[in-house]
Structure formats: C-alpha cells, structure tokens
Symmetry: C2
Subunit: 244 residues, 2 copies
C-alpha cells in the first residue's frame, strides 16, 4: 500500500459538510470516496484533517488515502478531478510516508472567516461571507480576541455538550479590516465543534457593542455555551491550511 | 402614473437570462414583474436596458417601471427586495420624469468580462469568470482591440443572422491584467446579440496566438460570423453600467 496526501479545495455551499453520513450521499468525503474508488476499482477511505460543517468552505483541506500501488501523482490528480463535481477540486497530491494520517498527524489549522459590513448584501459574494451591516469597533474586537489566545478550557465556545475534554490551544487570532470588509483568521492546534463560528459570533457581538471586551474572561471562565455570542453562519468560514 | 428607474444587480448563474419567455418562468424580468406586481396589486411591466443572456450577470442593469402612485423609494426598494430571491437585488430606485424608458433612453453601456488564466480553475470564482489557462499576449490583444473601436459594421460579431442593421459604435475597449487574471471592459452605444462575448472570444484567440492581431480588419470587413473567434462563455460577463 502507498499513502498519498491530498490538498483539497471546495465550495461547501451545496454540501452537507465533510463527513460521510448514513442518511445522505451529499457530503464531500462521500463524494471523494466514491470518485476515487470508482477510478481505482476498489474501496478507498478518505481521511480528512477537518470535519467541516455543512456550508463551510475549504481552500486547503488535507486528506490521506491508501492506494494499492504507486501512481503518477499528476495523472492521478487529473483523473480524480475529472470524476469530481466542479465545486470540489484536488489542488495537489503527494506520495508520503506510509502510515501518514491527515487528521492524527496534523499539528494545527488555520481558519479564515469573512465578514461583509457593507449596508447591502452583495449577490456575488453572498455564499462566501457573512453579511453583517454594522460599523464594527475593531479595537474592542482585538482586545477581546487577545483573551482567547493560549491554552484554555473553551467549553463556552462549543455546541458539543457531550464533550468533556474541552481544553484547546489557540495560537493566534488576526483581525484584518479592508474597507467595509473584515477577515478574522484563527490559528490553533485543535478545534471543538462550532468553535471558530462561536468565537466569530462572540467577537462580532463585541464589535457591535452587544458584549463588552472585558466580559471575555468571564465568558471563558463560565465554561457555559449560553454566555458566549451567537453561532456565526457557515458561509463565511474557510478551512485555509492544515499544518504538519 | 409615476415612472421609476431601478438599478439592479444579479447573479445570472441559475437564470434563463433577462427576457420574459413563454416557456419558462425562470427569467429575471419575469421574476421582477411577478414580485413587483404582487407587491402593488396590479400588473407592472419591467423594461430593462439590456437583454442579458442566460448565465450573464449584472452589477448595474437598469429598468424602468410605471406605478399608479408615488411611493417612498427607500421603502419600495426594501419591499421589492423582500419578495426577490437573494441572487437578484434592487440596488437603487429613483423617481424619474414620466415617460423615461430604460432601453430606449440609454446612451451607452459598459460591459466587463473576467478571464482567469491560472493553471487550475478556482472553485469560488468559477461562476464569475472564464477559466482560460493560457499565457496571453496582452500587447497583441490591445492591438487587435484597437481595430474594433469606432462606428463599424460588426456583422462578424453577432450570432443573430436575421439582423440587417449591424452597424454599431464601440467607444472604447480596455484590457486590464492583474496577475494571472484579466478584465476586458467594452464601452459602446449599442450592442448586437452575443457581440461582447464574440469580441472577447476573438481577443482571447489573438492572445493565445490562434488569430493574428493584423487579421482583425479582415475579420471586420468579412461581415461573416465564421471569420471571428468563438463565443466566450456567459459566466465571465457582467453588465456593469448603463449610461443616460
């Protein structure tokens, strides 16, 4: 068996997220597995680094697969892309050391969230950003974001109520405004269910004045989802890069 | 009756073009007429400046409508947008002089065409540009475009074979490269069916070396569609502005 590392981009708009599900064929993992298995003639499992939610996009999802023999990676890439719908594209394939696992071996991830604060929604970017027509206090948002950086119990920032081990490390959060738009980049070594979107929702609540930046330590300490801000919509979120 | 001037943006991806058709409800004009008529309670005709093709987008389509009374235009705009699908948006409504007609009164139009020459197609911009992975000779394209400017018989640049009056005035064509992307802007006082897309297809054929820039006067003089380049896809084209 040979192990390959795939870098994948997708427009998540019309999919039920990354992960294979019993009740639908419409997930990115299922489509990739079907396409690659159809191509090579036997069942191939595609292990992704991140289980992105329904509607979330990726510019740099990474997945690992095991194939029975060595392939020319350029040809393999072209052949898989030919089987895929045009909103899912393999950007790169590399032969890697046997046993490489995209999720287990990942050292960290970078997510980007796009906010459009213009008065009116834009018909062309509406699938790829959150239209939030508010004049944001970026200084307050940066102050609030500082509190999230480090190794902390982030139970307030997940919708997974079953999860016990909720300690995660956020290595950096960057807020880059550009005109009436804002990009929020979150770097971390591990992420809880809905974590980036709840962090963004909370930061936007700070930016709009609904929550004070000083409340951030209180929200974290509460370890209670109801103290944090709303879940920001999936459409603004991109898995940008996975680190190894 | 009061006449209103509407400025409209739309993502044309999932529509059968602007113009009302007998066999489908899925045109932008039909959807606007249904929405506005439903709102005011009587039949309203929406006259557009440009009959954009299926898949073509607009950032500045203009249409005129006649309503029985004076409305607060801000409220009217909000109410119409509430009835519209999210990929069609009214950007502006103005009360204008009675008798104003968006198409008949237009003095010119500006179209933009977006080309993506990167090696691989991008899943996020694929609906809004033509993926043409070729290193273009922009100098040759500019030289070729020069020949199109002026008042000429442009019969070679339309797929409407019935049309007799094929003399049109192109006032300017601008080619603005940015990295591996290219924007082609065409300004003119009147446009034939498929004209911008055939011009773009011909300019791209020049840029890729399939047609020499010096052939442009020959193609124009031929007054024969078969001498020009291919029809560029609808997805790259935007109606940008209508002049009055």
């Amino acid at each position: 068996m040979r192990t390959y590392k795939l870098t994948i981009t997708y427009d998540g708009s019309r999919y039920q997220g990354w992960q294979r599900q019993a009740n639908t064929e419409n997930t990115i993992q299922a489509i990739l597995e079907r396409s690659i298995s159809g191509l090579v003639g036997y069942n191939v499992k595609v292990d992704g680094a991140s289980r992105t939610d329904a509607g979330v996009h990726a510019r740099g999802q990474v997945a690992s697969i095991e194939l029975s023999k060595a392939y020319d990676t350029d040809e393999l890439l072209e052949n898989i892309n030919r089987y895929l719908p045009e909103d899912i594209r393999i950007a790169d394939i590399k032969l890697v050391k046997n046993g490489f696992h995209a999720r287990k071996d990942s050292k960290g991830k970078k997510y980007e969230y796009y906010v459009d604060c213009r008065e009116k929604p834009d018909v062309f970017s509406r699938r790829y950003c959150y239209h939030y027509p508010v004049k944001l206090d970026i200084i307050a948002m940066k102050k609030a974001a500082e509190h999230l950086i480090g190794t902390k119990n982030l139970a307030s920032f997940t919708d997974d109520r079953e999860r016990v081990d909720t300690i995660r490390t956020i290595t950096d959060i960057k807020l880059v405004p550009s005109g009436d738009k804002l990009r929020i980049t979150v770097y971390g070594t591990g992420f809880l269910y809905h974590m980036v979107r709840i962090m963004v929702g909370t930061l936007l609540a700070v930016g709009s004045g609904d929550i004070s930046a000083d409340m951030m330590p209180v929200i974290i300490a509460a370890e209670d989802r109801s103290t944090a801000g709303p879940l920001a919509p999936a459409r603004g979120l991109f898995l940008r890069k996975v680190y190894y």
